[in-house]
């Protein structure tokens, strides 16, 4: 049984800093690990700041998937204050 390990670090052609390790046994992947190797500390930075500002900080996690981090933060704040956003009226959503 031949086991080898493939390490790809960094994963290129994505914005982040990702390391992938793959264990291969007899030509079949038997285990895999991924690591995010860039520490940002956004959670720590957000402490004691205005919740309305939070989404602008979390957006900076990534220069490619910027928007989803912002939206996740907005949803978290809305959930925290139990805010329900009314759906957009059909008339304005289709424009």
């Amino acid at each position: 049984m031949a086991t080898s390990r493939v390490v790809i670090d960094p994963i290129t052609r994505i914005e982040g800093h990702l390391k992938i390790e793959v264990q291969v046994t007899d030509g079949i992947v038997t285990d895999a690990w991924n690591s995010g190797t860039l520490f940002r500390g956004i959670e720590t930075i957000l402490k004691n700041r205005s919740p309305e500002d939070a989404w602008l900080f979390t957006q900076r996690l990534c220069g490619v998937c910027t928007y989803v981090h912002g939206e996740a933060s907005v949803r978290a704040v809305e959930n925290a204050v139990r805010l329900t956003i009314r759906p957009m009226p059909a008339s304005s959503a289709t424009s």
Partner: protein, 183 residues
């Protein structure tokens, strides 16, 4: 860490290489995301590499406008000299005027976002004239106030981002006029 190397070690290797100039801009001038706390210890190029002898041009913004990044490089290639810089190392052709001065909505009471916390009066950049995405739009055109992202330490000096601008104890800040709590 990138490929088992720190960003600082990569910067120490790469930044001194150009003989004449470099414009490694796409980070804010100080490169930090909040002074207190600052768990990542990130810095701008000049602060991280104090012994660097190569001239540094800051092209700040979060993100900086690619027109300005390319503009600095193209200007250097055409003129064989660096563009005129301001006291913060920014090219004057892009950061010579305040966002508010260039904003088409500054005279329109219905569109001006000063009361919502717009930082255009304290921020030097050319967003309203160059715009983003090939000239499609810029924040105030989409109805969002400027957050002042091309000024040093803007995460601390420009926050809170929303609310009416005012000065308390000599420090510029924002005050929210109304706070609505969910019922």
């Amino acid at each position: 860490m990138v490929g088992n190397r720190t960003m600082l070690s990569i910067a120490q290797e790469i930044c001194p290489r150009p003989r004449r100039s470099s414009a490694p801009g796409p980070a804010p001038p100080t490169g930090d995301r909040g002074r207190i706390p600052q768990p990542h210890r990130a810095k701008g190029v000049k602060a991280a590499l104090p012994n660097l002898t190569v001239p540094v041009v800051n092209v700040p913004g979060c993100p900086p406008n690619p027109v300005n990044v390319v503009g600095v490089i193209a200007d250097y290639l055409l003129q064989n000299r660096l563009p005129a810089l301001d006291s913060k190392g920014r090219p004057r052709f892009a950061y010579g005027r305040k966002v508010h001065e260039l904003c088409p909505y500054r005279e329109q009471e219905s569109r001006c976002l000063k009361e919502q916390g717009c930082k255009g009066e304290r921020c030097f950049n050319n967003c309203p004239s160059v715009k983003f995405n090939d000239g499609v739009s810029f924040p105030m055109q989409a109805g969002h106030p400027c957050i002042g992202c091309s000024e040093p330490n803007f995460w601390d000096t420009m926050t809170p981002f929303y609310g009416k601008a005012t000065t308390i104890d000599g420090r510029s800040t924002s005050v929210r006029l109304t706070t609505q709590r969910p019922t």
